[in-house]
């Protein structure tokens, strides 16, 4: 019993240590958001003189933050929903269905994960051209389509990987019961794969939420701007408003963390609901 308690204390200490290390820079950021630029640069360690929200007021003053939120959430929702749906379909085919050419699924898998190795900056110029050709430059569609494409590799890696870890029995039983492929996929497999779905949706949405290179290059109408572009509003050619940038970023991070925390819990509840037996 005593040993149990000691290991419990050690465990608690470990949790606290990891969390604190991760969180120090975050708390520091919050403290900095109450300082003016001169204090931020010249006295980064000191406590703020008072907890005045002037940086937040300035940020809210300059930014049309409601519209930016709406734009970003819409982009993230549309591209994530479409992306997750189509990549689940293709990953299911790759991981489960039999092909005449035995090595085809593996080749498709390798082909589809090449995207992971691509630094997005090399796509800027070509996708700009493609968008001009398709007459979608500067529109949300012109962002959503590349966003879907850019997440395909990540989604494929996760979906195929997790599908391979799942046992086949359930599906075989379903097929014997006369389910067709679509029914098996969406009624039998998808509910059991809930943790994977949650993980994929989470990362797709967060990626798009924070995405900067495409949004900054393909959008030119400030009414379409997304949240990640807001730091540029406080960065002039010769000036940088650190305080406002930090305040704006905190307003962007907090909802993301809440979103993460809520979704994270779903990973667990998903498991207790779907019964997986080996």
């Amino acid at each position: 019993m005593k040993r149990r308690r000691i290991s419990g204390i050690m465990f608690g200490a470990l949790v606290v240590l990891i969390t604190v290390l991760a969180v120090i820079p975050f708390i520091w950021t919050i403290l900095l958001s109450f300082k003016d630029n001169s204090q931020i640069v010249n006295d980064p360690m000191g406590l703020p003189a008072s907890f005045d929200f002037f940086n937040y007021r300035k940020a809210l003053d300059v930014l049309d933050i409601g519209r930016m939120y709406a734009n970003t959430i819409m982009l993230a929702a549309a591209s994530t929903a479409a992306g997750v749906l189509i990549t689940f379909m293709s990953s299911y085919a790759i991981a489960r269905l039999s092909f005449r050419i035995k090595s085809l699924p593996d080749k498709l898998f390798l082909f589809l994960i090449i995207g992971l190795a691509v630094p997005v900056y090399i796509l800027l110029f070509p996708i700009y051209r493609i968008n001009v050709k398709l007459h979608i430059l500067g529109t949300f569609i012109g962002l959503i389509l590349p966003y879907i494409a850019i997440n395909i590799s990540f989604n494929t890696l996760l979906f195929v990987g997790f599908l391979r870890e799942f046992p086949l029995e359930l599906e075989e039983a379903a097929t014997i019961d006369g389910c067709n492929t679509a029914q098996t996929m969406f009624r039998i497999v998808a509910p059991v794969m809930k943790p994977t779905f949650v993980t994929v949706v989470l990362f797709n949405a967060i990626y798009i939420f924070n995405e900067f290179p495409f949004a900054s290059t393909f959008l030119s109408d400030s009414r379409k701007y997304t949240l990640s572009l807001m730091t540029s509003m406080f960065r002039g050619q010769y000036s940088m408003d650190y305080g406002a940038i930090i305040a704006a970023s905190i307003m962007m991070i907090i909802p993301e963390l809440i979103f993460y925390a809520i979704f994270q819990r779903r990973i667990i509840s998903g498991m207790t609901a779907g019964a997986v037996k080996e």
Binding site: F11, V15, L110, Y121, F125, I150, T199, F212, S249
Partner: protein, 295 residues
């Protein structure tokens, strides 16, 4: 392994949307970029074909070689660290304890912090003069351990590895966690009835059953390190004098600051090929080992 039969029409419907999106917005752009890597294009005006010139220049470009070396150092340091670290963090977070959700969110937080803030905060922490780490070391009388974390010519890749580790720990732990959650709980129950301690069951049950998750994380870490960009730009700006640049931050400088688009694309193609080769090589050996183990 794949054994479910279905008509080819179904297979085409399942695969087509992904393939079309992927080809139009990823593969085609990639081909355009590769084509430009054989030209002297500046980003403005006409591109003139220059053969393999750009690739020849790579071998002689001192700054490119430095950025390659830095990337490799980061790979060595943060690659192993992230894999082991995020696995341990996932095991810890898998336990039920008060404040679990908050812990998870906080550990994940670095992943969503804006890069410009990461640069600012870690600049304050790592600054050799007045930074947090060196101040603490000096107070403890460990003056000799004070290192020129950033701004010097030697230690910057180490500093970048540290920050990269901090930033991605929560990301990879979340993926591990999703994998751990797919392991049925009754396996552990059975093990504990058989008298297997919890730490032993990690090695006997968790790790073997997480094979695919480990593969995923390794691939993501490898390709992620080859893509490190914003972190370096915000932390050191590649300085002093590009000596802390990584492959992508150097490519970005060449393409967007120096207007040497063609040459920059050659660097990009190099990054792509090396990152792909390492990933595929790893996939191959891990799959083969899996087959041997099964046999």
């Amino acid at each position: 392994m794949n054994q479910l039969r279905c008509p080819s029409r179904t297979k085409i419907i399942l695969l087509a949307p992904t393939m079309i999106m992927y080809i139009v917005f990823l593969v085609m752009p990639l081909f355009i970029a590769v084509r430009y890597s054989f030209t002297d294009f500046s980003g403005i005006g006409k591109a003139v074909f220059s053969g393999a010139d750009n690739y020849m220049k790579l071998a002689e470009d001192r700054l490119f070689l430095v950025s390659l070396k830095n990337t490799m150092i980061i790979m060595g340091l943060s690659g192993v660290g992230l894999l082991v670290g995020s696995f341990i963090v996932a095991l810890v977070l898998n336990e039920d304890f008060p404040g679990n959700t908050l812990s998870k969110a906080m550990i994940f937080a670095p992943y969503v912090i804006a890069p410009i803030i990461v640069g600012l905060i870690w600049g304050f922490i790592l600054n050799p003069e007045y930074g947090l780490i060196n101040s603490v070391l000096r107070k403890l009388g460990l003056e000799s351990l004070c290192i020129e974390w950033i701004g010097g010519t030697k230690w910057t890749p180490v500093a970048v590895s540290m920050v990269f580790f901090w930033q991605l720990l929560g990301f990879h732990a979340t993926i591990f966690l999703a994998g751990i959650k797919t392991i049925p709980g009754d396996l552990y129950e059975a093990a504990s009835i058989d008298g297997c301690s919890r730490s032993r069951s990690v090695f006997l049950i968790t790790i073997p059953l997480l094979k695919e998750t480990i593969i995923m994380n390794v691939i993501l870490i490898i390709t992620g390190v080859f893509k490190i960009y914003e972190l370096v730009v915000q932390l050191t700006g590649g300085g002093p004098n590009h000596l802390s640049d990584t492959l992508v931050s150097y490519m970005y400088y060449v393409v967007f600051t120096s207007s040497r688009y063609g040459y920059g694309m050659a660097i990009a193609v190099f990054i792509l090929v090396i990152s792909m080769c390492v990933s595929f090589f790893y996939l191959r050996i891990s799959r083969n080992r899996g087959k041997e183990a099964a046999a």
